[in-house]
């Protein structure tokens, strides 16, 4: 059951991440906005992250048949997703994410070499949780200021993803309980909520900057 839910979650995450990322990229190409550039990186990273884990499950299902995903691959996928969550939070102007002191910077990296892939995975999940909570709060604040329904849906999506991440971490305390399945369902709901306002925007007629082609033609004359 968990295997199936994990597959659905990662496939949905991959598809939604790539669609939103592509939409943001087209926006960046047409307007040159740095905010859209950051959202492009964020959603491509989230989509690719989910895609890596989905690929891991597919490889296991078709080739290895061990009944569990390769831990290194899982950590890589989660890490890529965390990069995406970081860029969403960064768009809300996180100014001091990394410690300023050189000592803390150097010491901060050390534990990563002393930990197993399993522990790194949990550290990455906790980073994701913090970034998602930050993104959700900032989006809710924007909703309160502007009363835009889309911001409410995106804020709820990020909050559900954060809550799902928290429950997933908590399921370690109670392994083989229903908690992990609940966390996956929460994440799927979060991704759908994230996609809802974007699906209402006219996705048709997506086109890249025609001006570049026209300029090229002029130079070619």
């Amino acid at each position: 059951m968990e295997f199936l839910l994990e597959n659905i979650l990662n496939l949905v995450g991959f598809i939604i991440g790539i669609i939103i990322g592509t939409f943001a990229y087209v926006g960046y190409k047409n307007t040159g906005s740095p905010v859209l550039f950051r959202l492009t990186i964020a959603f491509f990273a989230i989509g690719i992250g989910f895609g890596i884990i989905w690929g891991g499950y597919v490889i296991d299902d078709l080739v290895l048949q061990e009944g569990k995903i390769n831990r290194g691959l899982q950590a890589l996928g989660l890490g890529t997703q965390t990069i995406g969550y970081f860029f969403i939070a960064f768009s809300h102007t996180i100014k001091s994410f990394f410690p300023k002191s050189r000592y803390f910077r150097s010491v901060g990296i050390l534990p990563l070499f002393a930990l197993s892939a399993m522990n790194i995975e949990h550290i990455i999940r906790s980073f994701s949780f913090i970034l998602l909570v930050y993104g959700a709060i900032e989006t809710f604040v924007s909703f309160l200021e502007g009363k835009q329904k889309g911001a409410l849906a995106v804020g709820t999506g990020l909050a559900l993803l954060a809550f799902g991440e928290f429950i997933a971490w908590y399921s370690l305390v109670f392994p083989e309980s229903i908690l992990y399945s609940i966390s996956i369902l929460l994440k799927i709901s979060g991704l759908i909520s994230l996609f809802l306002p974007i699906s209402r925007l006219p996705l048709r007629k997506i086109k890249f900057d025609d001006l570049e082609d026209e300029e090229d033609e002029e130079f070619g004359k």
Partner: protein
């Protein structure tokens, strides 16, 4: 709380004003654009020169003063700008 507009938002406001003020083939005067887009004269002059050179605005020769009207590319850019403004608004961000 007042917030500063980014360059791209100012460009969007100028193009929006130009589109609204362009009646027939007349074009909009700088004074009207200043009022509508809420921007200083010194700043709008540079931006208008830039927008004309990029083909988003067209300069219309008039007997009394220089007028500007939005071009086809300008209309296209403005439509995309509004669409992606809505997209970033959904994330609680400004384009």
């Amino acid at each position: 709380m007042s917030t500063y507009r980014k360059q791209i938002q100012i460009v969007g406001d100028i193009l929006d004003a130009a589109e609204e003020l362009t009646i027939d083939q007349e074009g909009a005067s700088i004074t009207k654009l200043i009022q509508k887009a809420n921007i200083s004269h010194s700043r709008i002059s540079k931006i208008l020169t830039n927008l004309v050179s990029q083909g988003l605005l067209e300069q219309v020769d008039s007997k009394r003063a220089c007028k500007y009207k939005i071009s086809v590319s300008g209309k296209e850019f403005l439509r995309e700008f509004k669409r992606f403004s809505e997209f970033t608004d959904n994330f609680g961000l400004t384009i």
